[in-house]
Symmetry: C2
Subunit: 328 residues, 2 copies
């Protein structure tokens, strides 16, 4: 079986590839893993063939090139991140929505050229950004998608496309709505959500972290390791169980910033916590106030998707998977 | 003020144009009304200038031609109908989704070329086809959109585009989700919902009508006159009241086929009812079983959108507005 990862050079793409190299992908026998991204993906050590392809899914022609690889299993993680999609309207829409649509069209073309023989499993990483407030205390599985960002609208549209192309039998798709992934290794980025990782990662590396919001802010989180688990579980899921609703809210940990800091204190002590400096930022506070706080993801739980056990576990996963390795 | 109606030759487009010609559009002073469609629209008698434009919004170049008209008020009713969008996948996606997107892009271009001066009100007619089962007894304003038809997916995607282009200030948009419009004048069409009009219209014209489903089927209806009222109300609405959720479920009448037949009996007597012949059709029954049955459209009601009073009223509106005029 051939696996294709769009966005294979990103943090999640790399961890997914490494996870597949280490532990496989359920019962699937893997022949080749192809990592596609706008930059060359770091190579992965594995028992099967791996290669990296460089290209931009927003470009005309890239989609059909990718579809003609006839990968049996496709993970679509490629995206312009939320902050950039908001400031660069054209770029976000071109990549996140038009690029995804072009790719689905190309898969349909190959499906038809093979007289329906080719019908890949496609796992699309959507996001809780498809939601917009006001929210109930816990967002249920039947809550409307009314995004308040271009990124969220682009994810919601791609979900609808994945659903209709799947309903018609051109692909066998599923969209998983990831919580905010923490603790992200590496350097802080410009995403408004970056501080959620920063206030844990920086102190654990002996560095100061800025906290731009109040400690009462509540949000919905998943560790990178558990997010990868969602992707591989989705890859092996019997999609007929979804009964036509192919976009699923993933489980997560709902906690306040105060609870996150308390978890850090329990694991790394007061010295670590002292490295967190309050520096209120009105823009970040305004953005974060529109984000989901908590979910009741019954469908995902019934299908065997399992969240992290606690925010302390999320911190431990960072320490085990990334702290020693990167030293940041 | 210049008004543009996309889909101006269709049943709703023509009735909207006639309504504007007869009664204006709220407090708006009208200079010109332009009806655009793939066929020449029937001319409308009015005190202001009217003209008809022929073209296809799915064609490249048509969108920018339309946007450059710089209409202040745009009604976007143009669509490939649900049945055709389901059988002709390419055509439905090209017109209903790609065509709508191209048009919004063109409006954005004119917005930018005029340094933000041009920012039209856009009223997009969406549909309850954005929903898919299973349903609660009454669909609330926060129920998810999980369409089970290409037409529904295309409407849902256009809603998301209208919302994001509006949020960014390129247009001032609103999407209204119409119930199934009955009683449609004219001949039966191939839409699976056609019988809802047929079982009233044909007997009132002394003709036999086929009923392909059981009389316990419940569905959500609006008369053409009231649907036009929704469009003109939306045109004049203060869109800041929508608080970023620009797609609204419209009010309607929820009733069973048995109740519709009873209403016909009350108005036209047993002779009319006897013209309805049961002819079960498995395909239509299967399709209809996936359609919404009832809603609780609180937001729309709070904003002053008002449904028909009863299904009997819906029949009377057909008799007043269409029966004498067309004789079918």
């Amino acid at each position: 079986m051939k696996i294709l990862v769009l966005g294979g050079a990103g943090m999640v793409g790399q961890k997914l590839a490494q996870s597949i190299a280490n532990g496989g992908l359920g019962d699937i026998s893997i022949d080749e893993l192809i990592l596609h991204d706008i930059v060359e993906a770091r190579s992965i050590k594995s028992d099967f063939k791996t290669r990296s392809l460089v290209g931009d899914i927003a470009n005309n022609g890239e989609a059909i090139k990718l579809a003609e690889l006839k990968a049996d299993m496709i993970f679509h993680l490629a995206a312009i991140v939320s902050g950039e999609a908001e400031t660069n309207f054209e770029k976000g829409w071109n990549t996140n929505a038009r690029g995804s649509w072009q790719f689905l069209e190309a898969l349909k073309q190959v499906h038809e050229a093979t007289e329906g023989q080719y019908r890949p499993r496609l796992v699309f990483t959507s996001s809780i950004a498809v939601f917009g407030g006001p929210y109930p205390d816990k967002i249920g599985d039947e809550f409307l998608s009314a995004p308040q960002s271009s990124y969220g609208a682009q994810k919601a549209i791609t979900e609808l496309l994945v659903s209709d192309y799947s309903r018609k039998g051109f692909i066998d798709g599923i969209s998983i709505r990831l919580p905010t992934v923490v603790v992200r290794p590496g350097k802080a980025n410009l995403a408004a959500s970056s501080f959620f990782s920063g206030i844990i990662r920086e102190p654990l590396n002996g560095k100061e972290a800025l906290l731009p919001v109040g400690t009462d802010v509540r949000h919905w989180h998943v560790s990178p390791r558990t997010a990868i688990g969602f992707l591989t579980h989705a890859a092996n899921l019997d999609t007929s169980l979804l009964q036509g609703r192919l976009a699923i809210n993933m489980p997560g940990i709902s906690c306040t910033v105060a609870e996150q800091i308390e978890a850090l204190r329990n694991i790394a002590g007061e010295d670590a916590v002292r490295l967190i400096k309050r520096e209120p930022d009105d823009l970040v506070m305004r953005l974060v106030s529109g984000w989901p706080r908590d979910f009741d993801p019954q469908r995902a739980l019934a299908m065997g998707f399992a969240a992290d056990k606690s925010f302390e576990d999320i911190i431990r996963i960072y320490i085990e998977d990334d702290l020693d390795r990167s030293g940041q």
